[in-house]
Symmetry: D2
Subunit: 285 residues, 4 copies
């Protein structure tokens, strides 16, 4: 990676600020934009979009680039950045890295002529985020559950990246951990990790804390009815999640919604993970 | 343990309320006093001190029984309870269990004639509290450290009960964990747990999070100077602790004071642990 | 799975005997053939091939079905079983389950008309075998290495199913474990497990025990030259393996060839794993 | 530790040879005696007892120094070494380190005038040996049990140093591990490690592998009768051990006697552990 290349970071949340600082710490020239109101930007030269894109050969957009498909995701920006042809045109001839780019591409045909890459689709980012999510969820559970995870009975629904990370970490904290999964290979792996392996139809009750990682309703009214009144539920899956919230409300069960934990609980680690991922992508170009 | 015996719980914090609820759930008659302002006492019959001591053969005092040596430790009580001869006399002929009883004994000679026991001196309580403390500290670190424990470098100073629990749990979360100890057997055990073993004089820098468990200054100005500006320090030891706070302030290091974590982070588990301990003591009488 | 169906087990090693016993213990009728010289067949009715295929609707062939492509893999059989049209014809109308069936299909066109399934290609079998292989390798290493794994420095090359299982188990035994892998996502996962993550070009020396799981030469003469004279190497990958044996010989390094560990070290667990897998396949038919 | 001091190693098994090599590798002059028939002594200058004691200021005797109280424990010696006054007199003015010295002291009054130390009584040696014993036992179990430890149900009786190490390592291998102990604090700690905690009276059946670490009969006929016919038992405790062998024979249970595992399974690690311990003792003198 040539040391001459300058990086421009535009918009995003605390993760992008740690990302920018970490790239600067690696010795690269860094310019930032649309982060005016953020903390921790001291020493990072700010620039307008036009100036930044003139100065930088590599531009990093936030994760997600946009939430509404119309404006840039830039909570720390003093003004709203409209996503249109003139915005897109700024990036012609640049290498642009962003997270969840689909919506952006819909905002201007100019993007068809820009060399752009989606770091959110990279496996190393997903794996790293899974462990950050699991750790963040455990931090929330320790904080919010009036009992302790150690020596308690925990349930994880789903054995994808996040489910795996949760099984390992909960066991590592001394919790008796069960995990629900659908396919036979996952059940074998769950048992091999020293956890209890269950099919969803076998899901029993009496858990202290339940972590859902499945974005489809696996914790049905029937399954919820088997739990204790003081069981704590954490919803880690993206909308609509796996917990029947209506039934949970009826049963007076406590459900914590816990989306995007990496950015909220470990912005520094999440930002450095994005940096590592972009470095890999640049090396591979 | 005869099912006829009634338990009286007097004063204390949230732990005592969970303790009372848990004893009631075991099927014993329970009366509470000096917990008026506490949450979660629904269904627990309240009584004045005199009434309670008449009704109950076993009385449980808080942990600690008193902070100032003059009044009962009863943050949820509407009035202050003076520790004097008339208070002590209430307990003649009862079995009284409390935490850190020394100060109480100084308040009245009557205590010399009361069958009283200190549950805080019990090894099972100390072991259980050590794991609750370690888990609470990890919950705080996950919350407060902007990075992640997983894949980070953590240092634990001291290999007593809390240090041991921290080493196991941090390793279980995927943190590279070093531990400082004085004696050779501890260093051997630390290595055997898969952690890095250091003598204090070998203590290097470059840690992300540091957990002190030693109540004597082991993290001196010299040791602190070796750490990163953004290293997070947790002080788990009782006053004066092991961190040179003056030097930490000078070096602008972030130190979190984290006393009595079991009661603050896991009152339910802490209360149930006290219950189990008292049950054991009763069986042994 | 209808309880009427009878199972016929033909040939194979100790695993097939445990498999047969385990199916019988589940309450199914079982017949065995070509296992005369095996231990542990007491109570399992033996039959000739013709009789067995008449009696059983489900037939289980060994893993691998054949080594030489000409005769059945049946080390415990008193006579050699030729794989030809007449052998294949015995199975018309049966459900046949075997391991590594390709070579068998080449022995007769009749197999085209037989309902046959390869249990070796099932993910749950591969996952289960990976953990059995890792455990067997660790048992060998403990036995053969004059030092101890605990507190030692271990290297695992490759982060596939077996590499993952080895990393988890070695860490669980208190070994400082490094793992070499190629892609970025694996390196992230290795670090997240609390192990040291290395690219092959970063591979250093000074390991006590090295476990190779890669079937391509990753432990080159250059990499081997960096190790200690008394480092122990275990070759777990199938031919040609990942260790430059010529260079190892020159350097007088100790290399243990450790193929097919599940069958040799844990035949009972391996047989039960095959049974579970076949049960799943039958349920799915 | 002055680099001039020469070490003399007399008798013992493979551990003492590794001990001698390791001291030599640290750069100290080393002389060996009574190890003629041992392997791995190349490059270690041999000497008669008289010559060795003249040359060396520090002498290391084996562990145990003697088995029969009459002759030196020296399986690799060409001749038997009688323990008498003339033997003892060789060591006047030397610093003598040995393991289990009591019996030696009974062989001559001269020992009263010799500066001698017992390394076997040192806590760091006992802790280190406990982990070596646990690892060796696991190696034996993997080798001898036809199933697998991973995903199996294991029982450890006793929660002393060896029991603790076994609980940690078995859990680390993915075994569901229960541990039996007497006192409440141990039961709390066992649960906190994520293992099942049982009092001896609660000891149930259905274990795959049982490790006894208690030198008093805890696995009585009644307890043994509850286990499976194919449960494997390992006796790790010194005579008389904790397993009712008579009942085990009657029940046709398989019991492996597994004494002194560190010396048999990890002589190099055991020898280096003795070396470290002696270094500590010398520093402390």
């Amino acid at each position: 990676m040539s040391h001459s290349s300058a990086f421009g970071i535009i918009g995003g949340d605390q993760r992008q600020i740690y990302l920018a600082r970490s790239i600067a710490a690696d010795g690269y020239p860094v310019w930032v934009s649309c982060l005016e109101k953020g903390k921790g930007t001291e020493g990072l030269p700010a620039a307008g979009l036009k100036e930044l894109t003139e100065k930088c050969s590599v531009v990093i957009l936030p994760l997600p680039v946009t939430r509404n498909g119309k404006t840039l995701n830039a909570p720390f920006s003093e003004e709203e950045i409209l996503l249109d042809d003139s915005f897109a045109s700024l990036f012609l001839g640049k290498a642009v890295y962003g997270g969840m780019m689909e919506k952006l591409y819909g905002t201007s045909e100019v993007w068809g002529s820009v060399a752009s890459y989606d770091y959110y689709s990279r496996e190393e980012l997903m794996v790293g985020n899974a462990f950050l999510t699991a750790e963040g969820a455990i931090g929330m559970a320790i904080r919010e559950y009036e009992g302790a995870l150690n020596s308690s009975r925990c349930l994880v629904t789903g054995f994808g990246r996040i489910g795996k990370a949760l099984c390992l970490m909960l066991k590592g904290l001394g919790a008796q951990t069960d995990c629900c999964a659908r396919n036979a290979a996952d059940l074998t792996a769950i048992r091999a990790l020293g956890c209890g392996a269950l099919r969803y139809r076998e899901l029993g009750g009496d858990y202290n804390v339940v972590f859902n990682t499945v974005p489809a309703q696996v914790l049905t009214a029937k399954a919820l009815a088997r739990q204790r009144p003081n069981t704590l539920f954490l919803e880690l899956a993206s909308h609509p999640g796996g917990i029947d919230l209506e039934a949970a409300r009826r049963l007076k069960l406590r459900v914590l919604d816990a989306p995007s934990l990496p950015g909220r609980m470990s912005p520094k680690a999440a930002g450095e993970l994005i940096k590592e991922t972009i470095y890999h992508m640049i090396e591979e170009v």
